[in-house]
Symmetry: C2
Subunit: 587 residues, 2 copies
């Protein structure tokens, strides 16, 4: 045996042996296992006496990275787009409010403790997202998973996942550029959106079909190895694009969640996730230095109080504003009052990007440990807590709230929600199509510098190279552009029709029709200007652009119907995946 | 992300992506996946153009080590002691013959190619064991798993596993001591036997009960982490005792195979095994240098022919001698005609112990690849091959063989097999008890040097220290010694009774009885002498020994019946595990 392999087996043996004992202890005393793993890390780690049991920290950290991948991949498998569409307004609003407030609160707390900008920003991000693992475990153990407020919590957790993804991408960018202006912010979010839409679109088009093909062989080893191949391959792509591996694992998980093999994949991935996430949480404990707990005692207590009060207030408020009862709002708020695995992933990101101070990690671990320990008690006693609060709240406030609720419910009854949904879905389709167009142009712009581009264009004239690439990008995106144009036109017509009801004069009717024709054309032109700005690196000079426009106009004239058919075919294939899935479920 | 973690993810992504593609290709063209993985290793490896895709070979090798652990652990889970007791005489004899012949053939082939001793010995070991993975896959794909000859093959594979364990232990010893005399050989096997019996005895007493306790929590994560903790912990113990990690993983697997949670454990371990064994086989391919194939072309062809002819002839002969038909013998022989994962594990052992030449690994890979490719065809065409052979064999030989078969069957009918089995099981029990006694003395001898021993004995006089340790070891082993003594006595009586039938004179009867009394006492004395030799490091001087003997004799006189009860209680607990298991199965 290699001496380093021997050391590795020894480290792993120590970790798994103590972790095994710890899982038994945790279940015996009804504490979350995650906390147990972190304690294991502290015990075997270098900061606690008598000595470090771990000799090759590097290999353990590498395996912990696998833990992050499998953890985020499983989270992605559990997250899916259909669930997302079912998240209600209450959860959406509460999530939005909670994340904005907690990020700001975290940042200002950091500044208050006189930490630098980067540490404060990372603290804000760490406090934003609650821990799915710990909430799930607590609700399971209390037998409250099926309750109505638990459904609200799950809705919030799903939306938090999306924010988490955005936060991961933003933090990477901030760390690389050093700061974040409004325009950077928009560009980063634009790129992230394009990347998400293109990869989800292509992924859902290809991956579930591929997995169904592989599943036909009826061989579990083959399915597992293929799933792992796709997962790691996608993570690699995502890393190359400058995003974190956690983001990649989550997205590919969300894509595979749309495949019909979801259940088998979950069963196959579970042992891998359990083993490596255990190692990840142990590695979190390894980084914990008890001295930090003593030297940073006040920040830890301050942040813990901020997490509990901040989360309870912000999410309860969000739920209250959307018209739910005070009891439900309190239950949701108290359930979300902790931080967990995601904070560790962000802390790891900060350390590996080398932008945060070393004390941030142990602080995150301490705060997470305390809030995790409190979670089950907070959920269990949420009703008595909310009773206590209602006792304190002045009479006029609760009366005002009741009036607000009644007004809200009356307003809800009035609005034509079905039509609203329809408009909303049309808007979503327009946005998706436009993101795909952006993606196509960005990919073609990327091709210019690569061997692929050189291979495609063995032409000496640089302008003509660009013109061909740009024209190709335009032609490839035509089906999506045309679809977007038609959707916009349709939406305008719909809005016009609705307004006509209120207004009987012929003159206004005529104007409405003109507007309904003009808006789509104007929006298409502004979209093309935006796309041109994005693809500036392959934008040919004006003369060539005009030539391309003429050629493309002819192509559109000739093939307009074919493009529409192609797009609707693509859409059908895309939606088929979801329908197949639903059929599968209902069978 | 750490730069080394990035490299690691990249390596893993490349391996898993190509491995995923390869599994699909292998299934499409009906080739074993194992072969596909090795080809993946060759493609991404450093020896093939254009360049090495793998940047951090070290981490991949470490993960490959995990592959060996999970592979051997699953093999252990599939192997179990009940299956072992059902292996027939035909399979036992064939295995014995095949392993002796193939090891010798391999050694002499190595010497013929003018390789050094170590390389030749490792070559012999590599050729001895056939590949369970490849045979299982081939039989499955041909739909022959339920056939009678397949059952014979499985019997042989189970016994080969035991030999493999012995070979692994012997090779480690040879490599450390540099050579192997007859007495080393016996001591190594004695120690291995003691270790196996003690760990199986204690393991089966403790582990299944522990797992049943853990399974009560009905939490898969907990069970998995505990199983992994026990597995890695045991591997660590085994490494510390100087054996290979492969041996440890196999034994702990075999112990867990006796637990009632076997099926759940198999489901949980399968994904881990599949992922890491894929990495292991890829790492085998990584080590393959095509240049070796060219420079060692003749040895490779020679060894391949030797494997196929040697295995077919030796195992067919074994099966034939035990009286099976020529067709069955041929089918078994042709099924076993390949080498596989075990040869790679032995080759890895040779490299890591730094005793074999670098060319041995690629040769093993080449021979395994060729013989693996041939296996399905050999099995498929075994009947026509055996028909062809029977055509060539002279008439008088087949007549002689038929006569032999008839004589054998007649002989079988005569012997009192039930009584034979009974005697056999008594003998096994005696041997197990004696091994346990040896184990107890070795453990106490080991205690002397450790802090535990110092803690136990804060006595200044070295002789009294030894005396106390030796006396404790003796007292602890009393139940087993008494049981062994009673079994020997019983066996002697049984044999005497049987002989009396043939002989009616009173004088001989009396002598018989005396012998039946004396033999057990003599054997006990010789056992104690042997045990004293083993525990020489804690053997006190004669005066103290006599004192201990007097004390122990008094203890025996007082507690004789209690010791017998204790032993029978232990035996009951031990056997309960098996019975529980059988009940579970039959439910």
């Amino acid at each position: 045996m290699h001496s380093n392999a021997l050391i590795f087996i020894q480290d792993l043996a120590v970790i798994m042996l103590i972790a095994g004992l710890m899982t038994i202890l945790c279940h015996r005393f009804r504490q979350p296992v995650v906390l147990g793993y972190i304690v294991v890390g502290m015990i075997v780690g270098p900061h606690t006496p008598p000595f470090s049991f771990i000799q090759d920290n590097n290999t353990i950290q590498t395996l912990a990275e696998l833990g992050v991948i499998f953890l985020m991949f499983s989270l992605g498998l559990e997250f899916n787009l259909r669930k997302l569409s079912k998240v209600g307004k209450a959860a959406s609003f509460a999530t939005f409010l909670e994340i904005i407030l907690m990020t700001a609160l975290g940042y200002w707390l950091g500044r208050f403790f006189q930490w630098n900008h980067a540490d404060s920003i990372f603290l804000g991000a760490m406090l934003a997202i609650s821990s799915t693992t710990i909430i799930l475990k607590a609700l399971e153990e209390l037998g409250m998973k099926k309750k109505k407020f638990a459904q609200l919590i799950f809705g919030i957790l799903i939306l938090e996942d999306i924010f988490a993804i955005a936060i991961l991408a933003l933090l990477s960018t901030i760390s690389i550029t050093g700061s974040m202006h409004a325009e950077d912010f928009i560009i980063t979010l634009g790129k992230l959106g394009t990347f998400l839409v293109v990869s989800l679109f292509l992924g859902i088009l290809i991956i579930p079909r591929l997995l169904t093909y592989i599943a036909k062989f009826n061989n579990r080893e083959m399915l597992l190895i293929s799933v792992l191949g796709i997962c790691f391959g996608f993570c690699l792509l995502v890393i190359k694009l400058g995003y974190s591996v956690a983001l990649g694992a989550f997205i590919i998980g969300a894509i595979m969640a749309e495949s019909r093999q979801l259940q088998v994949i979950e069963t196959l991935i579970m042992p891998l996730r359990d083993m490596f996430s255990a190692i990840f949480f142990v590695s979190v404990g390894l980084m914990f230095d008890p001295n930090v707990f003593i030297t940073h005692f006040y920040p830890i207590i301050g942040i813990t109080v901020a997490v509990i009060l901040g989360k309870v207030i912000s999410s309860s408020l969000g739920i209250l504003i959307t018209g739910k009862s005070g009891k439900t709002a309190m239950r949701v708020g108290l359930g979300l009052a902790q931080i967990g695995e995601f904070s560790f992933i962000i802390a790891t990101l900060g350390i590996t990007l080398n932008v945060t101070s070393s004390f941030l990690y142990p602080i995150a671990v301490s705060v997470s440990a305390i809030t995790t320990l409190l979670t089950p008690y907070l959920i269990k006693h949420s009703d008595s807590i909310s009773n206590g609060i209602s006792f304190v709240v002045p009479k006029f406030m609760s009366t005002a709230f009741d009036k607000y609720k009644n007004w809200l419910n009356a307003h809800h009854a009035k609005t034509n929600t079905n039509l609203d949904r329809y408009k909303f879905f049309n808007l979503i389709q327009i946005i998706i199509n436009l993101f795909i167009v952006m993606g196509i142009f960005l990919i073609f712009a990327y091709l210019l510098g690569t061997p692929w581009g050189d291979f495609l264009l063995s032409i000496s004239n640089h302008y003509i190279q660009k013109a061909i690439l740009w024209a190709l990008a335009l032609i490839v995106s035509l089906p999506f552009l045309i679809a977007a144009y038609r959707k916009i036109k349709f939406l305008c017509l719909l809005l016009t029709e609705l307004n006509i009801k209120d207004d009987k004069t012929g003159l206004k009717l005529k104007w409405h029709k003109i507007i309904a024709e003009l808006i789509p054309i104007f929006s298409l032109i502004s979209i093309m200007l935006f796309v041109s700005a994005l693809s500036i690196s392959i934008l040919p000079p004006l003369e060539l652009l005009i030539m391309i426009s003429i050629v493309v106009t002819i192509i559109i004239a000739l093939l307009y119907n074919w493009f529409i058919k192609l797009h609707s075919r693509l859409k059908d294939i895309f939606l088929e995946t979801f329908q197949n899935h639903d059929n599968e479920k209902s069978e």
